[in-house]
């Protein structure tokens, strides 16, 4: 459950203003035109950019916390893989992960044979929804 | 938009700069520009004073570079096509430039070694025992490195001459120097021994000293052995940044040419009448026979890192020549002519040089030049104008 109030973000001439927003559910799809503020909103929630206002994640206020303490992971569309690291290093990268998640992922994605290869050799990587 | 504006601004500034430059630059006429290299110590006298007067008078333009005399000679050996060369040690010309680059020179002025400083707290009063001031504990002295600059080995010679001057009454030249005034000699001699001697001030301060009574090498050893060892003697290139050295306290005193005091806005040790406080018997600025003979009583040998070789002491002689490959002989001759006759002599005199009233000619000078001079007197040791 994500609750946002009085969010204000200024990036150059662009201003994002959200007075009151409640988001809940397993998956949320955010749709908007180019330049409408989708990435700005996500980066504000993750703490990548400065914002004013309150952001609550499961009733915890996170807006004054540094990025690594917010429990919010963010991948952008273009920068989402560490190209200098192997498949194994990429999948093992998150500091907080549940036990056994790597083995699940490597098999689900069918990459067991290529786990020590550096990522750029792949034309694409299979994406899969996982719990 | 901002980038475009910045680019436009830069272009406008660039064009304006060129326009201003063209406007203030005097228009090129058919005037020939001759080039030369002169010793750094001549920067003020020749660069700032003589050349503008000469160009005004004759319309001849000169592009003169200034630097260490040996450095200039090496540049010529490496192919630099100067027309004129002027050296602070006349020996540079015969030893490095003859016969390939020239076959004559005119010796037109002398200079004197002096004790210089900037900071008023190091002031040396007229008549003071200056050898105490420069050799004292914690005082840092700068001199040129002999391999870079003639004033380096000339400083060594001056210091050694001072030693004989203040200790060796039995030397006939010393008695001449003191006008046979034993009483006055003894004042300085006593001070010398009290300072450098076995139970002297320096010894009691555990800062070198302890030299035998009447040791004429005491000052040399104190500076060029002891101070060098403890890091209180800086051997550097005093051509550049000497006032910076003195200003910043990297050195307290510098042993350099009297003319450098004007060049670089320094104070120097003087007599009450304003002349050099270092006697002409030791300051290497005289071409008077007896004084020149006295100069030869010491040699230029210095410590191993500061040693040009073992040459007898001699006066500081400035020599000039026209290099053989010049294309502008007439203009070059005009330059030398005016330098060694009253116009140049007056300017040199005002800048604390000692112009030689009838200059000395060495080798086969052009007729216009040779008629101005005389052969080098035999009593002047050849090494002071044939070797460096």
């Amino acid at each position: 459950m994500l609750h946002i109030t009085d969010l204000r973000v200024i990036r150059g001439k662009f201003k994002l203003q959200i007075d009151d927003l409640n988001l809940s559910g397993r998956s949320i799809l955010l749709i908007g035109e180019n330049g409408s503020g989708k990435t700005t909103l996500l980066q504000s929630i993750a703490g990548f950019i400065q914002s004013s206002g309150k952001i609550y994640l499961e009733d915890f206020e996170i807006n004054s916390l540094p990025i690594e303490k917010r429990n919010v992971c963010m991948l952008s569309t273009t920068l989402n893989i560490f190209k200098d690291k192997t498949v194994k290093e990429n999948l093992n990268f998150p500091k907080r992960k549940r036990d056994g998640v790597y083995d699940d992922l490597i098999n689900d994605l069918g990459l067991a044979e290529k786990e020590t290869s550096k990522v750029p050799i792949f034309p694409q990587v299979k994406c899969k929804d996982w719990p | 938009m901002r980038t475009s504006l910045a680019i436009i601004a830069l272009v406008i500034i660039f064009i304006a700069g060129i326009a201003i430059g063209l406007y203030i630059t005097p228009r090129e006429s058919k005037t020939v520009i001759i080039t030369g290299f002169a010793a750094g110590s001549l920067k003020y006298a020749i660069g700032d004073n003589f050349i503008p007067e000469f160009s005004n008078l004759t319309g001849i333009k000169i592009g003169m570079s200034f630097g260490g005399s040996v450095s200039g000679a090496r540049q010529i050996q490496s192919g630099q096509p100067y027309d004129i060369f002027i050296s602070a040690a006349a020996g540079v010309i015969p030893s490095l430039l003859m016969p390939n680059y020239t076959d004559w020179m005119i010796i037109f002025a002398t200079n004197e070694m002096a004790v210089t400083w900037i900071n008023q707290s190091y002031n040396i009063q007229p008549g003071a025992f200056w050898f105490e001031n420069i050799s004292a504990k914690g005082i840092i002295v700068a001199a040129s490195n002999a391999s870079l600059d003639p004033s380096g080995f000339q400083a060594i010679e001056m210091i050694k001459l001072a030693g004989i001057y203040y200790t060796n009454w039995s030397n006939p030249y010393v008695r001449m120097a003191w006008h046979n005034n034993f009483h006055e000699f003894m004042i300085y001699n006593s001070a010398w021994n009290s300072w450098f001697g076995p139970n002297g001030t320096l010894a009691s301060e555990h800062y070198g000293g302890g030299y035998p009574i009447n040791d004429s090498m005491a000052l040399y050893d104190q500076l060029f052995q002891y101070k060098l060892k403890v890091g209180d003697l800086k051997l550097t290139t005093v051509e550049i940044g000497l006032d910076g050295y003195l200003q910043s306290g990297a050195a307290d005193y510098a042993l350099t040419y009297k003319s450098q005091a004007i060049n670089q806005h320094l104070n120097y040790f003087k007599n009450t009448n304003g002349s050099n406080g270092l006697s002409s018997w030791i300051n290497l600025g005289s071409i008077q026979r007896n004084q020149v003979m006295f100069y030869q009583e010491v040699n230029s040998t210095g410590p191993s890192i500061d040693n040009i070789g073992d040459y007898p002491g001699g006066p500081i002689l400035y020599g000039a020549t026209i290099l053989s490959k010049t294309k502008y002989l007439n203009n070059d001759e005009a330059f030398i002519y005016f330098l060694v006759t009253p116009l140049g002599q007056q300017i040199l005199n005002n800048s604390d040089f000692d112009p030689i009233s009838v200059p000395f000619i060495y080798g086969q000078a052009p007729p216009l030049i040779s008629q101005l001079g005389q052969p080098i007197p035999a009593y002047i040791p050849t090494n002071s104008y044939e070797e460096i």
């Binding site: 200098d84 500091k95 | 040996v70 391999s147 890091g231 940044g241 890192i305």
Partner: protein, 266 residues
């Protein structure tokens, strides 16, 4: 492999440029003989090169140690004041080198402002003709090369990657070390090489602050060759220059090999 017309047109520029760089170097090397080089190697040039290379290496390391945090800081400081500050670091490069030497004396000599502060901590402090004078002056002159080289490789994307890593739970330093530094090491090496090379060639300021290094009275190589030129003439100086060029070339080649193939990341 077929190239387009532009490739061949630009190759003319390359040939001219390389000619201007390579021809004088070749001339120096061919001006001397092998026998001359062997003789000159006993003149003290080898010791001077060793000392200079070591000093330059220390300066290069220190430059990189400052360049990395500087890059991190400036990249995250959008305020115009910091843009102004960033433009100042190239200033030392444009100051005439002998003037730099005088500036260093006026700042660090024991009787000068910074020097007197240092003297309070180290009573026997002295500045000119010391290792400290060499390091400080060379750092002043050459550090901008490291900073700019490393800055160029640390783009805006680097910050986003680090933020991504932080969102996975890593602290800022951990994110920087895990994500950015592995990709900066090539530019770090390049920056070090530039600073190192620039430090070796320095003469003007060294003539003022450290004509020799006390108490060994060793010259840095630029001063050594300059002294040789003045004292002994062109040929010994050219021979020493050739020895310097050969050793320098080998070192730069080794660095280039260590750098490996260039990979683009961001």
């Amino acid at each position: 492999m077929k190239f387009d017309k532009l490739y061949y047109i630009f190759s003319i520029f390359v040939i001219i440029y390389l000619g201007i760089i390579v021809v004088p170097i070749l001339r120096t090397l061919l001006f001397t003989s092998i026998n001359g080089l062997v003789q000159d190697s006993k003149s003290g040039i080898i010791q001077s090169i060793e000392l200079t290379y070591l000093m330059a290496f220390i300066v290069a390391i220190i430059s990189v140690v400052f360049a990395i945090p500087y890059t991190y800081f400036i990249s995250r400081s959008p305020h115009p004041f910091f843009k102004f500050v960033d433009s100042i670091i190239e200033l030392p490069i444009m100051i005439p080198h002998t003037v730099v030497g005088i500036i260093m004396l006026l700042t660090f000599e024991p009787s000068m402002p910074v020097g007197s502060l240092i003297s309070k901590i180290y009573p026997n402090y002295r500045f000119d003709d010391t290792f400290f004078a060499v390091i400080v002056t060379l750092f002043f002159l050459a550090s901008a090369y490291s900073i700019r080289t490393i800055q160029v490789s640390y783009t805006k994307n680097a910050i986003e990657y680090e933020n991504m890593a932080r969102s996975f739970g890593y602290k800022p330093l951990e994110a920087f070390m895990l994500v950015s530094v592995p990709f900066m090491w090539r530019s770090i090496l390049r920056g070090m090489a530039l600073t190192w090379a620039r430090s070796i060639s320095e003469v003007g300021s060294m003539l003022i602050v450290a004509y020799y290094i006390f108490p060994s009275f060793t010259h840095l190589v630029g001063i050594f060759i300059y002294s040789q030129f003045i004292g002994n003439g062109l040929i010994p100086a050219a021979e020493s220059s050739s020895i310097l060029i050969i050793t320098g070339l080998l070192t730069l080649l080794i660095l280039k090999i260590l750098e490996g193939k260039d990979a683009s990341y961001y």
